[in-house]
Symmetry: C2
Subunit: 512 residues, 2 copies
């Protein structure tokens, strides 16, 4: 505002140099945003409300309990102190829950094949990543949905490998071109690790698939010992079918994963108004109760085994019963859950960044932006489904994935917050400018120093003036996303060493 | 998730009835979101950091002060205790600032011509509205920018009148078809009040225009007494030219407005990295110092006159010097300022919801979504420029205005937060469902009751499944926004009584 002509010409003079400077990649340690920055500045619940929800969850575990645990689970949990009633439900005395909370793993690291992508889940550290089981790939140019394939998953993995602000890659699409379920599980793992060296999430729900998939994983890792030293895949376990029922098969699959040394995500995916209560607070109560039961389960069979407290309540559009992942109610559920994770001091995860829109349009932008920034500011450790997700989880879009990297960059910058240090509030800079100085801060040493270390810049977001934009022939956001996606896919291949890839393809039927 | 076929058919059965129920307008008192809900759950600054910024601002006022106050201002402020130095700068002892803070108006009401739209600026109450001085109207279908006109402003006012989540209408476009500046100021006021009964913001910066515009305003109000009893227009005063300079003409215009009984917005619109320091914290320090000088100014000439603490620091893209209103840095500046407003207990306003994108695309969605929700959660009283603003304030888009109502609805739902009451965490609902009940919450009394009072629904945002969306011929978000805009414009006219309108048009040259 009010910049004189003389200043404007100075500005233009330095512009190209500054743009060039900024275009050079920044050394990791001075990047303004990094994986695992600490959130928590946003607290949707008061301390008393958190305690009230905790109390209600304990009461639900004592009085309602969970039905349908598999026999192996019943044995482990009753041995630990759970009580099976005449109605078959397992109930959990509060002392048992408290004991198991004391044994639960804290401050865990989720390893990545490239250690620089390791995720340290402690305090309010925030990581964003993909997740979900979309059954469609979205083509935003032709505005069509088609069945998703294993090649799509591999493509998504390769793109995530290139995106600074997507910190892990959990399977986000179902390979519908593979009809055999074991082959699908095997190919899902292999597509993920071939595409990215970041931490991988997969989802085995059939117990008998765990052993054959572990064979493949050991081969990838270079043996079982190497795998167990740095397990780079976690398993997303829908171990409950809300409300308050264990999912028998999935629980047994979880037991197998635990024995195989794989970190697990205790995923409770109720839907407020359908499989979870409609009041947001009570939906959180139910999700917390279910995940506390999961903590008892895991720690009664393997004390201290790494497990993520996965309260993922979703939201129904109560008019239709349909899911609404992009709503404010969803953002509140997720943010409230993040506070509960901190209350227990457990590594936690929940869903944000889902769009209900079918396409990467303005609606998708506001839904993904609002839900992701609220999750980040709430200090959620693992923000799942943060990017690429459309149609309330039914469609995944590679162009949206690329655009979402900008959204997550903005969310991370918000999480980083406002630095208040002696330097950043020192009046020296103001005095130098106002008292006999140039009367503006353009080009001062402080301004130039902060250009790279405090300010972030979108990769695809456009900040041109209308005049520049017209002169540049009105660049289109989506067309640029298509181009960036294609450039990544054209320039990247499998991360697997050639010999190993050959050996794996000889032993297993790989479909991409 | 995991809903059985039997449940699904029940769900479909009730669907149309529920949609119809929800389509009926809700009584005001049970609406899930309302103007003036209380934010503040998000605090980017710690208490110690707030105190540190306050301290630095006081020090800046004592040691740097402000230059270029008009003679009338110098007289009033030095009479109150400010000290003019040999360098001409006015410096403000901290005791003077504290005295004037004690006199400043708190918990003020900004009146609207329709009293149901009155704005009560107390505590963390949040109101969203337009503002700015865009010089272009954006046509998002043809992707063109053209000069904005007085008719555009009138159209925007009529649309705002119909949008539940836009709570006030501050002039957002400059009528570039009116070359005479006084006629532009007169027409701006009249276009706003003709279009909407909500509180109006205008911006007189030429002192000699205030009196003739007040004549028109008295005529609209039904006389000066009626105007002074319920002033329904506030004046946005760029009373400083950052850094730390008064804007002489604008200050004199402000004095005239104050004498005319008009609430003022003390607007300090520095740009971090250009006219304000680059560190976010120091940009806040400067804005706070400037607005505290404004508080001294206003209260030295009219103790207790209603004034909004308008710390509006903007952000530069430091690579180019261009403004970036949609950035995370902007959101942090605004949220930090909101916390400073609360520290002083003064009514406050700042900017959020600006997009840097030229069009209402995905970028616009995430920029407007993230910045608005952070402003709301920070408890900002007046969120200016919250809707319709593109190209970093240079373009206003009527279709985006209509879409933005959905964004603001979502931000307001987030501000409302999570109700934790005995009812909302009572286990009765869970027991009834889980212990011998239906095993799901669809159609329970609690779910149906909350459908209208706790859950919000977008007007244009689309939540269809891919199948429904295809059957509905893939409705396009922007096309629907065009249609809603046009429907509003086709069905609404001037709010001015015909006789009064005729009298006004006879006396003043009205251009729309």
């Amino acid at each position: 505002m009010n910049i004189s002509t003389e200043q404007k010409s100075r500005r233009s003079g330095g512009r190209s140099a500054r743009v060039a400077l900024r275009a050079a990649p920044l050394a990791e340690e001075i990047r303004p945003i990094r994986p695992g920055m600490k959130g928590g500045q946003y607290k949707p619940l008061t301390d008393a409300q958190v305690a009230r929800i905790h109390e209600a969850a304990l009461q639900a575990l004592e009085e309602i309990g969970l039905s349908q645990a598999p026999q192996s689970g019943v044995e482990a949990m009753t041995a630990a102190g759970a009580i099976q009633g005449d109605d078959g439900r397992l109930r959990f005395p509060r002392a048992l829950v408290e004991d198991m909370l004391a044994k639960a793993a804290r401050n865990i690291t989720l390893n990545a094949r490239n250690p620089k992508h390791d995720l340290l889940l402690e305090e309010n550290r925030v990581y964003f990543g993909t997740a979900g089981a979309a059954v469609h790939l979205v083509d935003p140019i032709n505005r069509t949905y088609r069945d998703s394939t294993i090649q799509d998953l591999y493509d998504a993995a390769r793109i995530v490998e290139q995106l600074d602000n997507v910190h892990f890659f959990q399977r986000c699409m179902v390979a519908r071109d593979i009809t055999d379920n074991l082959q699908m599980d095997l190919n899902t793992v292999y597509a993920c690790v071939s595409g990215t060296s970041k931490h991988i999430g997969t989802s085995f729900s059939e117990p008998s698939h765990v052993a054959p998939c572990m064979d493949l994983i050991h081969e990838i890792a270079g043996g079982e010992d190497a795998w167990r030293a740095r397990p780079f895949i976690s398993n997303s376990n829908c171990f409950v079918v809300p409300p308050m029922k264990f999912a028998e098969e999935s629980c047994v699959a979880m037991e197998h994963c635990i024995r195989a040394g794989m970190p697990v995500l205790l995923l409770s995916a109720g839907q407020a108004g359908a499989t979870a209560p409609a009041p947001i607070a009570l939906a959180i109560v139910q999700a917390v109760a279910e995940c506390l039961a999961g903590v008892v389960y895991v720690n009664s069979i393997a004390p201290g085994h790494p497990a993520i407290f996965g309260t993922w309540p979703f939201v129904s559009d109560l008019r239709t019963g349909a899911m609404s992942g992009g709503s404010a109610e969803q953002a509140l559920l997720t943010a409230g859950c993040a506070q509960m994770h901190r209350f227990y001091g457990l590594p936690g995860g929940a869903a944000a960044g889902i769009s209900d829109s079918k396409l990467p349009d303005m609606q998708a932008g506001w839904e993904q932006g609002i839900t992701n920034v609220m999750a980040g500011l709430a200090g959620l450790n693992m923000v799942y489904e943060a990017v690429g997700m459309h149609a309330s989880l039914l469609g995944f879009c590679l162009e949206s994935l690329v655009l979402g990297d900008d959204i997550l960059g903005q969310a991370l910058r918000a999480v980083r917050g406002i630095d208040v240090t002696e330097d950043s509030v020192s009046l020296d800079a103001m005095k130098a400018v106002c008292l006999g100085g140039p009367g503006h801060y353009l080009g001062t040493d402080q301004t130039l120093a902060l250009m790279q270390t405090e300010y972030t810049y979108p990769k695809l977001g456009n900040r041109m003036s209308p005049k520049e934009w017209e002169e540049a022939k009105k660049p289109d956001l989506l067309a640029n996303a298509v181009a960036r996606k294609q450039a990544i896919l054209d320039s990247t291949g499998s991360l697997m060493p050639r010999e190993l890839d050959r050996a794996i393809r000889a032993r297993w039927p790989i479909h991409f």
